[in-house]
């Protein structure tokens, strides 16, 4: 039996959303345990190898670069998924990696002060708006040039300019795209996300980008939230933090983008009856598409900020200070967030299907890849400029 025929079809086995958001998936809590344990084992193996190599090389005075546990966890996951494959028993639990990602992001809110979030979100949102406009225009032109179907072009444009798989899934319903176009767009975005894990840190180091600038660049340019978080964490802890913040800004815009496309398709009479009905109440449409974990992130950050307020500077808020987190509590929440991300990174590796790099057909991949390169260059120039102007 060839290796490729023994591999599981990860696109079917690993829905882009963890149990709970996928109505077709009804796995019992017990059924999730083996996969979650596997995520932990793979992630912890990555952490162990990083620690072991650091200790060993230091003890033996060997010059060796510090390779973060993030990379080890992803590589171990890729190796398992693409060689021996995953037995079915692990699949439901492994698919929860998106759940851990969101929990990790919410808990990471404790490491941000609300003022910093507002400042950086403001800058990020302006950068997102500029990058989004340019990248949608470029991707649409590229799709036409390569004669892709308008719906596939739309899905690729949304996936690469806004926020990856979630945006594609959300847009699919609004524009009535068929399953094949959706799977192709998702496969292209995931494959390119896997490539970005290895290329972004190299480019960042080559350009000597600061942790802040690199993190925001990764958050703005890498499509899928899990890969953006990993690409940031591969550079440094601080870069990972800022990548999450920039990516969360992009995620918050998902509703507006899907609404824009839904309205466009409805104007042309191409939207489904269901989509037309949903468009009657645009506020409800936006709320439905809004990623709720962003609110959790802001709430945790608000409580953390309360704990840092100086009663002398803010006497009217002095009564709220005792409700905030103390420093050791912020540290504990930050560590919980790291554990959640550990499971996520293992899941990213276990979900990455190298076959998709070759399987999806050349044209969508070329369009996606060209789009990614141009979007990465545009966002890099924007971040570079913003870093000079605002000292990110």
């Amino acid at each position: 039996m060839s290796i490729s025929s023994a591999l599981p079809d990860l696109r079917e086995s690993y829905p882009p959303h963890a149990p709970g958001s996928d109505p077709q998936q009804s796995t019992s809590l017990l059924g999730l345990v083996p996969g979650i344990l596997l995520l932990f084992v793979v992630g912890y193996a990555g952490k162990f190898v990083e620690h072991f190599l650091n200790t060993y090389t230091k003890a033996h005075h060997i010059v060796f670069p510090n390779i973060e546990y993030v990379l080890w966890a992803i590589v171990f996951g890729i190796l398992i998924a693409n060689t021996i494959g995953l037995p079915k028993i692990f699949r439901p639990g492994v698919a929860t990696y998106e759940f851990w990602l969101k929990a990790g992001i919410i808990l990471l809110g404790a490491r941000f002060l609300l003022g910093d979030i507002l400042k950086l979100s403001g800058i990020s949102l302006v950068l997102v708006a500029i990058a989004f406009t340019l990248s949608i225009a470029f991707m649409t032109w590229l799709g036409h040039a390569f004669k892709l179907s308008p719906k596939l072009t739309t899905l690729l444009a949304v996936g690469s300019s806004v926020c990856g798989v979630s945006a594609i899934i959300a847009t699919q319903g609004a524009i009535e795209a068929d399953e094949e176009d959706t799977s192709t767009a998702i496969a292209a975005i995931l494959a390119l996300g896997a490539v970005s894990l290895f290329t972004f840190p190299l480019i960042g180091h080559a350009l000597h980008l600061s942790d802040h600038a690199y993190g925001i660049w990764a958050g703005l340019a890498v499509d899928n939230t899990a890969e953006a978080t990993a690409a940031g964490a591969l550079y440094s802890d601080i870069a990972g933090k800022y990548a999450v913040l920039a990516k969360t800004c992009r995620n918050a815009l998902i509703g507006f983008v899907v609404l824009f496309y839904a309205v466009q398709w409805a104007k042309q009479g191409l939207a489904s009856a269901k989509a037309n009905q949903q468009l009657q109440n645009k506020a409800a449409f936006l709320w439905k598409k809004f990623p709720k974990f962003v609110l959790g992130f802001l709430l945790i950050s608000l409580v953390a900020t309360l704990g840092t307020l100086d009663p002398k500077l803010y006497p009217h808020l002095a009564g709220l200070v005792p409700f905030g987190f103390t420093k050791p509590q912020v540290l504990a929440l930050g560590n919980l967030s790291r554990w959640a991300f550990l499971l996520t990174f293992a899941g990213v590796g276990l979900r990455t299907n190298l076959r998709d790099l070759f399987k999806q057909g050349a044209r969508p991949f070329i369009v996606g890849a060209l789009g990614e390169v141009v979007i990465a260059a545009i966002t890099l120039a924007l971040v570079y400029g913003a870093d000079r102007l605002y000292k990110l």
């Binding site: 958001s21 998106e98 759940f99 959790g296 504990a332 929440l333």
Partner: protein
């Protein structure tokens, strides 16, 4: 005619993630979970 079925109580991944995170944050805030090693 579509069959009647029990409407399952289900929450989105986002909502579950928010609930779990807030529960953990509360445990830490109340001092029931004091330290988390990394």
């Amino acid at each position: 005619m579509p069959s009647k079925s029990h409407k399952k109580f289900s929450l989105s991944t986002d909502t579950w993630a928010v609930l779990l995170s807030l529960a953990l944050a509360l445990l830490i805030r109340l001092g029931l979970l004091k330290t988390v090693a990394w």
